[in-house]
Structures are given as C-alpha cells and as structure tokens.
Amino acid sequence: MARSQASPHAARFYVVLIVLFMVGPFVPLLVQSFAFQWDWPNLLPSEWWFTARDRARLPLGWDYVLSPYSRLGEAVLNTVLIGSATTLICLAICLPAARVLAREDFAGKRAFEFYLSMPLIVPEAAVGLALSVMFVRVGLAGSYAGIIIAHLIPTIPYMVRMLTAVYQGLDRGFEEQARVLGASRSQALRLVTIPMLLPGILAGCLFTFLVSTNLFLLTFLLGQGKIITLPTLLFAKISGGSLDASAAGIALVATLPGIVLLLISERYLNGLNQLTGR
C-alpha cells in the first residue's frame, strides 16, 4: 500500500504549508492592529498602541475601532440584520420548492434547476449593476429592503441545493406513516418532517447567512453608501491600498462572524460538507 499514496509525512508537510498560507497572514494583521509605529524593516513594531494612546489627541488603533467614529457597531448590526432577514426569506421560499424538486419529476425540471443555479455562473457585477438601475427606478436603492432582496440572488442556489439534498435524504415513508396513523397534514409536518429535516435546514441557513454576510458588491452597489456592512466598511478602509492599525482592527472584526460560524459548523454540522452534498 505504501506505493499507492504519498507518505503521511509528505501529506502532513503539504497540509501544514497550505494552512500556513491560509492562516499565517493573520498574525501580522493582529500585530498591525496593536502597532503604533512599525517601520520597515522591523519585524515587530517599535512602539505599540497602548503606550502611545495617552499622548494621542485622537483615538488610536483599537480605541478608534471600538469608538462610534469607526461606525463599526453600525456595520456589525447591519451585517447581522441583513444576513438574518436574507436567511429567513430565502428559507421560506426555498423550502417548499426544495420539497417538490426532491420528490417530483416534471417537464422542464432540469431546465428549471439549471436556471436556479445560474446566479452562480453569471458575473456578480452584471447582476449588481442591472439591479441598481432597477432599484433606483422602483425606489428600493439605498434601503434595507433593496439589499435584502438583492442578497436573495446569490444565496438561493446554495439554499435550494442544500435543502433539496436534505429532502432527498428523507424517506417520505415516515410522513405517510404518520398520516396513516391519523396525524393531520400540519401535525405530520410539525412532529415528523421538520424535526428530521432540522439539521439540514440549520446547515442551509448557516451557509446562507455566511454568504450574505460576506457579500460585498451587491451591498456596495445597492446600499449607495447609506447602508454599510462589515465588507463595505472594510473596503472603504483599505481601498487606498494601505492598511493602518484601525483598518487591521476592522479586518479582524470582519473575520469574527466567519470564525464563529466555522466553529459551529465544525462542531455540530459535519463541517460545511453539506455545501457540496449532492
């Protein structure tokens, strides 16, 4: 067997290298967020933010990040609000459809499924710019409703896919048995189907929330600067191509929701694998 695969040592070396590439750059980001003076070519700052904070007339580093001036609280709130609303609406419209797609066969089903996955392959800039024209006409531009509606487009393909897979894994015999035993339609749904679907539904919601909180372009184009989220706030901070201590702090805060969701999914949901579950 030793000849059939790379040795565990080589595999481990490579995996560690990739993880270093993925996670390593967060170390200097963390250092930068605490730095006050960090000149080239020092590998560590010569002065830290906490020793300089008493001398400064304006809030520095984390003081600025956590102050109202940075608008971080507003961005976090908007991100969570938009993500939650998008997730709930997406679930509400995808769940009934996924049930039909998983169980029935009908004329045009393949074409419909292909159409549902098209947002994944149509460039986001095309959808975003066209939607911004559309939403200006109907008065949705720069509003929460407009952003939430727009966020449905990139989240629907994932949600439908994951929920359809969930329904396919559910034997409809359970539901029928409950009905035979005298449960009403709503009882069968509430007491049998929903509890069995719940883990899959939660995974779908988690991923939808994640996609929504990471979306930049649609929020940027449709928020028109009035509504900021973590990605658009961070974009505004670094669009000049440089990164000061407060920008590093905001970047770290923008990483937090993802870390929390990753921990949840690794712990309880078989680690995002449903994402590719087909």
Binding site: P41, I121, A125, I156, A248, G258
Partner: protein
C-alpha cells in the same frame, strides 16, 4: 378547483406548483429581470435617461472597437484563469493530503477552511500587509539579507501582473475547491484504489484511472463557480490591480459612476460582454466535460 392549465400537466399537482411558485417568481422577476434589463439597456433602451434607440448595437461597436476593452478583457481573463488553475492544483493536492492519516489532521482539516468564511476584503487586507513593498514578505527578505531597501522588493501589488489579485483569489477559493474534492474522496472510499494497487497499478496509474474520474465532477462544478465569480469580481482588482487597464467589472463601474449618466449604457455593454465571454467559456468547458464523461461511458 384546479384551473385548466394545471390539468393539462398531470405530472405536477396544484399544491406542488404552489410550492415552486414563490421561488420561481423571485428568480424570474429579480434575476431574469436584471439580466433582461442589462441586455435591453446595452442595446440602447433607457427611456428613464431620455435615451431610447433600441435596438442599437452602437454601444457594443464602440466598446469592441477600442483597444482598451481588449486589454481589459485580457487582464480579466488572465486573473480569473490563472487563479482558478493555481487554486485547483493546490486544492487537489490538499484534498489528497487530507485523506492520509497523520497527527493533527482534524485541526488542520478545519483550519484550512478559514478563508472560505471571511469576506474577500479581509483577504485583500492580508495581501496588502504581506505583499506590499513595506510588507511582511519584504521585511523577511531584508532579514534574510536579500534586499536592503523596500524599493528593491519586487512590485507585487498594483501591477498588471496581478500577483496580489491572483493571491487573494487563490487564498479564498482553494478551500472551496478542496472541500468539494475532499467530500467526493471521502464518500468514494479507498476500496477501488486499494484494489488497483493490489493488482499492481502504480501511483500515477491509480490517480489517472481511479481518483481523477471520481473527483472530476466536483472539480468541474467548483472551478466553474470560481472562474465565473472571478470574471465578475470587483474589489480585489479595484484595490490590488494595476489601475490601467482595469478589469472589465471595474471598467463597467467607472462608466456607471461617471458624471455623464449616458455612459451607463456603455457600462451595460461592458457588463453584457463579461456575461457573453464567461458564458461562452463555460459552454465550451461544459461541452468538453460532457465529451469526457461520454468517453468514460458515464452519460
């Protein structure tokens, strides 16, 4: 009472149609509407701007007639394709590596997914701090005695070679591809590969004849998604790109933000062009993939 329309299609009952309806309406009005609007406007239909010369291909002719469009297209394609190919190769190796048992695999197997769950802007911030001329790589190069001035460090960001843009795409999309490939490898198991090894196949043969056909569908779907995303991505080329020529999405955005609002139609022509190019490349890719599947006898 079911209406006659539903009775003519016996395969779907009224209740099932109702189940599909909300999703169908949202997708057709919102997504279909956006696509239709982009197409109409790029062909001269914008009465709300006081312009209506539909059908009018002059915006495409003006766009495709200029050299700057083709340069932008080249850079858009180059960043998208280079990043997709590099990420794919690294992701295949990562997925294969993760099938081997070694100490700490569970932790590393979770850590590599971090980029998947954070916004692109975070990746851009990391690229700035690592790859800039005053960045960490440049400082490490000094520590190793390779350079003694930041100006000697090769320009990686804001250059048309696009190292920064490509690095961000690879960083963000490698986990996505590795996840898709790894999931297939796990569910397929190792029986076939082991049987082949027992029968005397070497590593190369096992990969080509067994592993590769198993992971190809996952590769195709994840590379499609990443490539299409890269074609339409805005923030990484905007911040880390060379500036001129811009990638097509940045070019479209500049037209839209111009004080001269009639340039919006030109911008829509850019957007539709992105869709056309991406669509054609995806169609060719899928056709090639179908032929491959047919050669395996799987379709």
């Amino acid at each position: 009472m079911p209406s006659p329309i539903w009775r003519r299609r016996p395969t779907l009952q009224r209740q099932q149609v109702l189940g599909l309806l909300p999703l169908g309406v949202v997708m057709i009005v919102l997504f279909g509407g956006a696509l239709a609007l982009a197409l109409l406007q790029s062909l001269g239909f914008a009465p709300w701007l006081g312009i209506n010369s539909f059908p009018d291909v002059s915006y495409f002719i003006a766009l495709w007639g200029g050299a700057s469009f083709w340069w932008s297209l080249w850079f858009t394609l180059y960043y998208s394709l280079a990043a997709t190919v590099i990420a794919l190769v690294l992701a295949i190796l990562l997925a294969l590596g993760l099938t081997r048992a070694f100490p700490g695999r569970a932790v590393f197997g979770s850590l590599y997914k971090l980029p998947l769950v954070v916004p692109y802007a975070v990746g851009i911030a990391l690229a700035v701090i690592m790859m800039g001329n005053g960045g960490v790589l440049s400082r490490l190069a000094f520590a190793l005695g390779w350079i003694d001035d930041p100006a000697q460090f090769p320009l990686l960001l804001t250059t048309n070679a696009g190292w920064g843009v490509i690095a961000v795409y690879v960083w963000k999309q490698l986990p996505f591809m590795a996840l898709a490939i790894h999931a297939v490898l796990i569910s397929a198991g190792r029986e076939q590969a082991e049987a082949a090894a027992v029968l005397g196949a070497n590593r190369r043969q096992i990969f080509r004849e067994i592993t590769w056909p198993q992971i190809v569908p996952g590769i195709v779907s994840s590379t499609l998604i990443c490539f299409a995303f890269n074609m339409g991505a805005f923030e990484a080329p905007f911040i880390l790109g060379g500036g001129f020529p811009d990638t097509l999405p940045v070019m479209a955005w500049r037209y839209f933000n111009d004080a001269d609002y009639t340039l919006q139609l030109q911008g829509m022509a850019v957007v539709v062009s992105i869709g056309l190019v991406a669509g054609m490349m995806i169609a060719v890719y899928l056709a090639t993939y179908r032929r491959y599947e047919r050669s395996l006898g799987r379709v």
